[in-house]
Every structure is written in C-alpha cells, then in structure tokens.
C-alpha cells in the first residue's frame, strides 16, 4: 500500500468516525425523546454543542495532566478508529489486530482518571473510581467474548474475521454461529456505553456527573467529541465481530445504527444500578453466557 | 373525643397545680400552666394520656407584657385530640427548659425559636443557628425588630422612578404616598 494512501486512510477514518458518531449521538437523544414523549433535539444539535463548547473561553485550568487527560481520552479513541476496518478502508487494522484495539479502548478511561484526579473535586474522584470499577466489570465479559470470536476465527486480525463472516452470507455471521457470545457481547457493549442501567459514573443526582464535574468549555467539548468516538467504536466493533462487518457503506451504517439502537431503547426505561449490583450482574450473566459460548466454540 | 375520656383527662390534669383548662372544641383543649409546671404536665400527657406527638412549639412575643408565650401543641393518636399548653416566661433573660428528653421533635422547634426570638433552651441538643447562619442582626422575629427600617438602611428596592412618573408627580398627579405613610404596616403610630 502506498504510504500516501495509508496516510489518507488514517486521516479519513477518524473523520468518518466523528461524523457518524455525531449522528449516533443524535440518534440516542432522539430515541430518548421519543420514549419520553417529546420532540427531541434538532438535526445538527451535536455539532452545535461541540462547536460552542470549543468556542468558550478557557477560564480555569487544573494543571497539565488535567489537559493531557482529555487528549488521552480523545487520542485513545482516534487511534482505535484506525484499527477498525470500514468498507473500502482497512487502515492499519491488519497490522494492529483485535488485542491492540482492546487495549486502546481502555486508554480513554485511564486518561480521564488522570485528568479528573487532578481537579481535587471529590465528586470527580468518586466518579472516576466508579468508572474504573465499571470498566473492570464489563471488560471481563468483553475479553471472554473477543477471545471466543478470535478462537473461532483462528485469527486476531479483524479484517480476516470480517472476511470469514462475509464469505458465506448470513449463515456465517458471528451472531448466527455464536449466539451466546453475541448476547454476552451485547450486554458488555451496553455496559461500556455507560447508559442506564449501567450509568453509575455519571449519576447527576448522586455525584453531580462525576468525572465531568470540573470540565468546562474546551475540556467538556473534548468529552463530547470522545462520546461520538465511543459510540462509533463500540457499535462498529460489535458489527465487525458478530454481524459480518459491512460490504457496502449502506450496509455498514445500517447495521451499526441498528446495533446502537438496542441499548439506546433499553437505557431510558431503567434507573441505574448500584456499583456492586453492576459488578454482580456483569460478572454473573454475560460471563456465564460468554463462557458457555466459548465452550461451544472450543 | 368522647365524654368519658374528656372527663378523665380533666381529672388527670387537675393533678397539676395552677392549671386552667378550657375546652375549645371536641378535639381542642387549651391549657394554661405556670412555666415551672410545664415539664410535669407534658410528662403526664405523654406518659399517662398517650399524647406522644409534639406537633409544634409556637412562640409569641408579647412585648407590652414583657413576656414570651410558648405554646406546646401535643396530639394523641389514641384519643384524637390536641392539647395546647400555654406558658409565659419573662422576656428578660428569655431562658427556658428544653423538652427534648420528652419529645425529640422539640430539637428543631427550640432551635428555630432560639434564632428567631433569642430564647435559650437549657438542655436542648443543638442551639446552633440553622436558618440565619449568615445573619448578624438581632433575632428578627422579636417585635422590636423593624424589618422595614432594616431594609431601607441596607437594601435598595424601589428603583422604578422613570422621568414620566417624576413629571406626573411634579404636576401633583400619580400615586403619591407621603413618606410617613409609606410604611403602613406598622401597627401603632
């Protein structure tokens, strides 16, 4: 591959991710609005929010690490996007593999932990403690699921996994071949989105939005951008693992939006769990399903 | 309240010296006692007549008599009647006994009366300020505290005086209230 082409792909992939991610944010807010019997935000609302937040004046800084934390949070996901193949663009997915991707997806939480830890707000610290606990909760089933898929495919290369699924049409999709793993993966995915009932680390009424409490202007804008990437990464990863990726852009986008619509419709019907209930739930059901699924694969 | 219970209550209350009972309606009894007999009365009401709910403690500032009136409203969940026990204490020094050991809700009311009237309750668990933590004036609910004079001194509130209104007033029109009548809310002038 020509270096220039690779460079173009590496630039385009996060950009596409950002645009699709903004639409996903809009979709989640629209779904919430429909469930709550109201109209919901206008079409470009996520864009307005992000531009406005980045145009605000920087009034307070809690130090270098506080700033770098946000960069890490965004950078981790931007790097992850280049490892997620989209129709027509593979980026460095073949070289990176799924394990690298999994590691990259942990960086944002850790970056946020560093950044928030510096602002001396107890709410933020509690929020970060909860976010890391939640990460611990959903990463175990996620790792089991990814291990199962990789074992079944015989490779950790995401491009190959997608190609294998696309080879035989619908019947070779991961979700058909490994339904238990797909269900476990869906639950883990929902938890990693941080929406109800797994929204333990934002929790406005308890800890005043936790990690976000001291974020102002551009810092908060960074988090909004991060959310776009987060939604995109998680849904595209699920589509790649279980729904055969996308052969065309239409196919690909339809699948990713549909996958995201499932947790989005569930989220607004539930309150949030307590932290220990979340751990208990995540370590019980998805892990059990995942292990049984892995046993079938083995 | 049935007739027998009423009679029984009257007999019970007769044990307190200097008591004056007035039955205002079938469910309301007013009792006047000397200040030093109140703890005994409340103990009697709570222990032997089932008046276990302290509904409120009200304070009235009778500035002309130089007295505070404290009213203890107690309710019985059994006989469904409310006894209001009235006592009077001297305005100076304004000290009385807490009834917290009999009724726990008293803690809030005594704290409230303490900051609003400056009455000190001995034995109350917490006499810190609650509402007026950032207030350093006199206890505001006392009758001698003139809140309008206070706001005229510390705050400006009437800003709306546009030129057209000034012109109207200069011509003798508009709603003109002489300064001495502006503070119409004082009772006696």
């Amino acid at each position: 591959m020509a270096p220039l082409e690779l460079l173009l792909e590496l630039t385009l992939m996060p950009l596409v991710a950002f645009l699709v991610g903004m639409m996903m944010v809009l979709m989640m807010r629209r779904i919430a609005a429909r469930i709550q019997r109201r109209v919901g935000p206008p079409l470009f609302q996520p864009l307005y929010d992000i531009v406005k937040l980045h145009s605000k004046q920087t009034q307070v800084s809690h130090g270098l690490i506080h700033d770098i934390g946000i960069v890490m949070a965004m950078g981790g996901y931007i790097a992850a996007e280049t490892l997620l193949p989209v129709p027509g663009m593979n980026g460095i997915a073949e070289k990176g593999g799924i394990i690298t991707l999994l590691y990259l997806m942990m960086i944002p939480s850790l970056g946020l932990a560093l950044g928030v830890g510096q602002c001396a707000n107890p709410n933020g610290s509690i929020g970060i403690a909860r976010a890391l606990t939640a990460m611990l909760a959903y990463d175990i089933p996620l790792v089991i699921v990814i291990f199962g898929v990789a074992y079944a495919a015989g490779t950790t290369n995401l491009v190959d996994i997608i190609a294998q699924q696309q080879a035989g049409g619908f019947a070779t999709w991961g979700a058909v071949q490994m339904p238990l793993l797909a269900v476990a993966g869906l639950i883990a995915m929902h938890a990693s989105l941080g929406k109800q009932p797994f929204e333990i680390y934002i929790a406005p009424a308890e800890i005043a939005t936790g990690p976000m409490v001291e974020m102002s202007g551009k810092h908060l804008g960074g988090l909004f951008v991060m959310q776009c990437f987060q939604l995109y990464t998680i849904s595209v990863l699920y589509v790649s693992l279980f729904l055969g990726g996308g052969s065309t852009w239409f196919d690909f986008l339809l699948k990713s939006f549909l996958v995201l619509a499932i947790p989005a419709s569930i989220a607004y019907l539930f309150p949030r769990y307590r932290t220990e209930d979340l751990l208990r739930l995540m370590w019980k059901w998805p892990v059990m399903l995942g292990l049984i699924g892995v046993a079938f694969v083995l | 309240m049935s007739q027998e219970i009423a009679h029984w209550l009257d007999n019970l209350l007769e044990e307190i010296e200097g008591i004056e009972i007035r039955r205002k309606s079938s469910r309301r009894v007013r009792v006047d006692v000397p200040a030093d007999a109140l703890p005994a009365l409340l103990e009697l009401l709570q222990g032997r007549a089932g008046y276990i709910h302290l509904s409120a403690i009200s304070c009235v500032d009778w500035i002309e008599d130089e007295e505070f009136e404290l009213v203890y409203h107690v309710w019985s969940y059994e006989s469904h009647s409310l006894v209001s026990a009235h006592i009077r204490i001297a305005r100076e020094p304004g000290v009385y006994l807490s009834v917290y050991d009999l009724y726990q809700p008293a803690a809030f009311f005594e704290r409230d009366i303490h900051e609003m009237y400056g009455i000190h309750f001995e034995g109350s668990p917490n006499m810190d300020k609650f509402i007026l933590t950032e207030w350093d004036g006199p206890p505001p609910m006392r009758k001698e505290f003139d809140s309008e004079a206070y706001i005229n001194e510390h705050l400006s509130w009437q800003a709306y005086n546009p030129p057209w209104l000034q012109a109207l007033i200069a011509e003798g029109g508009g709603v003109v209230i002489p300064p001495e009548e502006q503070r119409f809310s004082r009772k006696k002038d």
């Binding site: 609005a33 709550q36 019997r37 109201r38 109209v39 919901g40 935000p41 206008p42 470009f44 609302q45 864009l47 307005y48 929010d49 531009v51 406005k52 937040l53 145009s55 605000k56 004046q57 920087t58 009034q59 307070v60 800084s61 130090g63 270098l64 700033d67 001396a120 707000n121 107890p122 709410n123 610290s125 406005p204 005043a208 939005t209 976000m212 409490v213 001291e214 974020m215 102002s216 202007g217 908060l220 | 007026l132 933590t133 950032e134 207030w135 004036g137 505001p140 505290f145 809140s147 309008e148 206070y150 706001i151 510390h154 705050l155 400006s156 509130w157 009437q158 800003a159 709306y160 809310s185």
Partner: protein, 237 residues
C-alpha cells in the same frame, strides 16, 4: 499551565473574511446550544421542569440542563435570592466559563417582588451581577420562560449579549454592592481582576475603592484538599 498568565490569548485578525465566517458560525452555534444551570433559588424553579419535560420540551431548541457551573452557559436565577443564597449564586457565577449569561426569572429578581419587606432577601439582582434578561411574572409560565430564552438566543446570535464583559469592566461597582451586603471581608476564590486582564477587559471601572478594600482584607487562597477533619470553606457545588 497553573497560572492564568500562561494561558495564551488568541486574538482574531480583523478584516480576514474567513475569520468573519468563522465568527458567524461560532455565534450561531452559541445561540443554538444553551446549557443552563438552574439555580433553584425560589418559587420559579417549579415552572422549569414543565418547560424542560415532555410538554414544552426545551431540548428541541437546543437547551439542556447541566449540573455544574463549569459546564453551563446560562445561570438561571429562578426567584428571590435570599442573602445566604446570593453568596452562593455569586460564587457559582464566577465559576462559569465565559461567555456566560444570567437570566433572572420572576419579579422578585427585579426588585424584590412581594418580598420587598423581607429582611432576608436581596432585592435587585443586577446590583450584584450583570443580568442579560429578566423574565417577569410571578411566576412566569413555561411559555414565557421559553420565549425569554429565545430572545436571548436572538441577541446572542446578533452578538449583543455581552453583559458578562460588564462584570469585568465594572467589577468595582458589583464588588461594592456585594461588600455592602456581606461585609467588608467578603471575598470569592476567583481572581476576577486577573481574569479581566486575561480577557483584555480591564477598564476604568474594574479597579476602585472597593477592590482596594478587597486587597486589604484578602486572605491568600489555601490549596483545596480532600481530607477528613477539615471543613471545606464555602460550598461551591
């Protein structure tokens, strides 16, 4: 970047057509995305849930509630401000990032409303902080609140909602009124004068008698800490 002076100020070049387009975009986005912090100082707060929820749905206009002052653009003062609350309101206001807007809801924020006789409430909000918009009424209906917010949107889009600059330009006046009410040793953890310099908004009214008084009484700020046995000074959140 621990000190304000190290944060660079980016000055837009004048006359650059691209910059004008960009400014226009920024103004448009600012007017279409309003994060409100509703400080529920009084009765008016009861009409905000209806305005936000299903029936009137402010989110369709891009208005959403936020939780902490750092995140918000608009400070909604929903009713009379008692003097104890006013201190917290000022702390909250100073913590918000610029550009910020203040809306006074209910007649009580205008001149004390029906509590004009009360010893415990501050009467005129705009003596203590610049107010962009008043929504009068006791209490204003959700429609009135939304109409008021739309007016604010229009003036943000037109670039007229600049009253936050007034707080820096006339800080001495606002500080004077605050000192009159709270006593001479009133101070907030925010260094407003340094911020005014940072924004290039230092003017004649920024410094004066009252800021000199503040300097006399000012105690050096202590580092915040998270530890037991130490009372946090002022509730900021």
């Amino acid at each position: 970047m621990s000190s304000i002076n190290q944060i660079p100020v980016i000055e837009a070049k004048k006359g650059n057509p691209l910059a004008r387009v960009f400014d226009e975009l920024v103004r448009f986005c600012r007017s279409r995305s309003l994060f409100i912090l509703h400080y529920c100082t009084g009765c008016g707060a009861i009409e905000l849930p209806p305005a936000m929820t299903s029936r009137f749905d402010m989110e369709r206009l891009g208005i959403q509630p936020m939780v902490s002052p750092r995140q918000a653009d608009i400070l909604l003062i929903t009713g009379y401000v008692s003097i104890k609350t006013l201190k917290r309101v000022i702390l909250t206001y100073e913590q918000m990032g610029s550009p910020k807007y203040v809306i006074g809801i209910c007649s009580c924020t205008v001149n004390g409303g029906m509590y004009w006789q009360s010893y415990a409430t501050a009467k005129k909000l705009d003596e203590y902080m610049p107010v962009d918009l008043y929504i009068a009424g006791c209490m204003p209906r959700p429609e009135a609140v939304i109409a008021g917010l739309q007016q604010l949107m229009d003036s943000i889009h037109a670039g007229k909602a600049n009253s936050w600059e007034d707080y820096y330009r006339n800080y001495d006046y606002y500080l004077g009124n605050q000192q009159k009410l709270f006593g001479d040793n009133w101070q907030t953890p925010t260094d407003v004068i340094a911020e005014a310099k940072h924004y290039n908004l230092l003017s004649k009214g920024t410094l004066g008698v009252h800021t000199r008084l503040l300097e006399q009484h000012q105690q050096p700020l202590e580092a915040l800490e998270m530890r037991l046995g130490h009372n946090l000074k002022e509730p900021t959140e």
